[in-house]
């Protein structure tokens, strides 16, 4: 059997005296959507931060394509092809759609202007539109400030951006939060497209119907430990809820 696309082994993380994660192992294969669920304080955010490179684990290993890696910052993980969309905060509202898509990856003008850091706005505008369309998002105007878009459209831009740039793993923290049913359905459709492209997708959500709808496998965290990790089909709504809460 080949190594999983992305894996953490036996990671632990403490914040002072609080144990956030304890001996957690997590795997993700290419072309797979894994749901990560758990109650508040179960350690989901901490695991997301470790997977995305925002925090370093105290103990344990991170492996990408079977090779041990260390992320010192989100930038390292991004470089390796791991995109993360954080809850409600992936977007700079005052910037345009195109500026957001290319944030941190700006295209500079050719020649000496580019050497001084001047931006090739036209190319970014055109490429942003093309990249978003490629992942199934039609943008009427790439030059509009994101603050002028509705919540669902903003989320569409954020997810489109992550899917367009990810080449291995995409981590989505509550991507369907605050969205209407139709918009949430569209988000799930983009996730399926990402999976069909061969990306590994980590889907964090409190909305269990969405977890059932889109994930192949579900990992349940409770009090900093993995309490269940199996095919989503093998859960019923009740058994998943019980795994999350720990109630019999």
């Amino acid at each position: 059997m080949t190594a999983p696309l992305y894996e953490v082994r036996n990671v632990g993380k403490r914040y002072g005296s609080v144990v956030a994660l304890q001996d957690v192992s997590f795997t993700l294969n290419a072309g797979e959507v894994v749901g990560l669920v758990g109650d508040n304080g179960a350690g989901k955010s901490t695991l997301v931060k470790i997977l995305s490179g925002a925090h370093e684990p105290d103990t344990g290993d991170i492996l990408l394509d079977g090779t041990r890696r260390n992320w010192h910052s989100p930038h390292d993980a991004l470089q390796a092809g791991i995109e993360t969309l954080y809850q409600d905060s992936g977007i700079a509202p005052d910037l345009t759609v195109a500026a957001n898509v290319f944030l941190g990856r700006e295209i500079l003008k050719k020649g000496w202007l580019g050497r001084f850091g001047f931006l090739d706005e036209k190319k970014m505008r055109e490429d942003a539109r093309r990249e978003l369309e490629r992942v199934g998002i039609a943008v009427p105007s790439a030059t509009r400030a994101v603050a002028k878009l509705s919540g669902g459209q903003r989320q569409a831009v954020a997810i489109g951006r992550a899917v367009a740039w990810a080449n291995k793993v995409i981590i989505l923290d509550e991507p369907t939060n605050h969205l209407g049913a139709r918009q949430a359905g569209e988000v799930l459709q983009v996730i399926r497209q990402a999976r069909d492209k061969g990306l590994g997708v980590v889907f964090i959500s409190h909305t269990l119907p969405h977890v059932f709808e889109v994930t192949d496998r579900t990992v349940v965290l409770r009090l900093g430990k993995v309490v269940a990790d199996r095919s989503t089909d093998s859960f019923t709504h009740d058994s998943l809820l019980k795994a999350i809460t720990g109630l019999k």
């Binding site: 905060s89 957001n100 944030l103 700006e106 500079l108 603050a147 919540g151 569409a156 569209e186």
Partner: protein, 336 residues
């Protein structure tokens, strides 16, 4: 997923552009109205010497306002710029006096003085940036601390007195006006204004500044080294404030530990009058430049119509309050 169902149609984008254009037009209109008002009271206000004088007053303010604009757009504030102006001015004066007495030739003397001034601005700016990013102080407190420290240091270095002893060349450079208004330092200021407008609007540096001010978490998530960028922004503000100090030194031929006192008020006024949002992420550099022009024109107008200098600060404070109030009414709601 589709963005086609946008509640904002494309004509709205054009309207927004029109409003932004109008903002510049409004500022120019305010400026013209003020010139007309002061000229009506005192016709001498509308003259070449008066304009040349306003330009000399405007230059240090606009230099500080440019730095302030980068800082405020990144959702910070730099209260130390006035004190940095003073500290850079007296440092330059001391270095130049020392070199001059040691018999160095004027060109070298002035260059060394200028370098020393810039180094002072760079150091204070770096300290601001490091305090804010790595020590985690809020910008208001960090720059309040360096504001006090820089002002105190100027007094310690000078014993509280003005430092003269500049070679004649300094006064020549600062006061030889071509066409009756254009001195070499003013020319340099114009070049800096043009570069600042271009970098703010069209460069990656400007883009990252806006992005951090708009949502620093998103900027970090996008792989931008936010701390590093903020240190650069505060360093830039420090250097520009130091250049303002050098400008004042060239103009007067001496450095006073008291010059620049309250300069932060004018710089912040220029930026907020120019539409730079204190919430970060929004505002154009050209607005801040016009804001600096309006601020200085008001101040020299007040003097020319015979208002006591002590009232100046009060007027500037009112301008800030009005500008922020107007912004608050017109500002778009920030999304969450």
């Amino acid at each position: 997923m589709s963005l086609e169902s946008s509640p904002v149609d494309d004509s709205a984008a054009r309207r927004v552009t029109a409003v932004l254009l109008r903002q510049d037009v409004i500022l120019l209109g305010i400026f013209a109205a003020m010139v007309a008002f002061f000229s009506a009271i005192n016709p001498r206000y509308f003259s070449l010497p008066s304009a040349a004088n306003i330009l000399q007053d405007f230059s240090p303010v606009v230099l500080m306002a440019i730095g302030q604009t980068f800082v405020i757009a990144s959702r910070g504030i730099d209260l130390s710029v006035g004190s940095v102006l003073g500290l850079a001015g007296v440092t330059m004066a001391l270095v130049i006096r020392t070199c001059n007495e040691a018999g160095l030739e004027p060109g070298l003397t002035i260059s060394l003085g200028l370098l020393a001034a810039i180094a002072v601005g760079l150091v204070v700016g770096l300290v601001n940036g490091l305090l804010i990013t790595y020590a985690g102080l809020v910008p208001f407190i960090a720059t309040l601390a360096t504001m006090g420290a820089a002002a105190g240091l100027s007094l310690v270095m000078t014993g509280g007195v003005q430092i003269a002893g500049a070679p004649r060349a300094v006064i020549m450079i600062g006061n030889t006006a071509y066409f009756g208004w254009l001195t070499v330092p003013v020319m340099v200021v114009f070049v800096i204004i043009a570069l600042a407008c271009a970098f703010m609007a069209w460069s990656r540096f400007g883009r990252w500044t806006y992005a951090i001010g708009s949502n620093s978490f998103a900027a970090r998530g996008a792989g931008i080294d936010v701390n590093r960028h903020l240190v650069k922004v505060y360093a830039l503000s420090g250097v520009l404030a130091a250049l303002a100090g050098a400008f004042v030194y060239f103009r007067l031929g001496s450095g006073s530990p008291l010059s620049g006192r309250g300069g932060e008020l004018n710089a912040i006024a220029a930026a907020v009058i120019g539409g730079i949002s204190l919430h970060g992420g929004v505002g154009k550099m050209s607005g801040a430049v016009l804001g600096a022009l309006i601020t200085t024109a008001v101040l020299s107008g007040l003097i020319l119509v015979g208002v006591q200098p002590n009232w100046q600060q009060i007027v500037v404070a009112f301008l800030i309050a009005i500008a922020v109030g107007v912004q608050g009414i017109g500002a778009p709601r920030r999304g969450g």
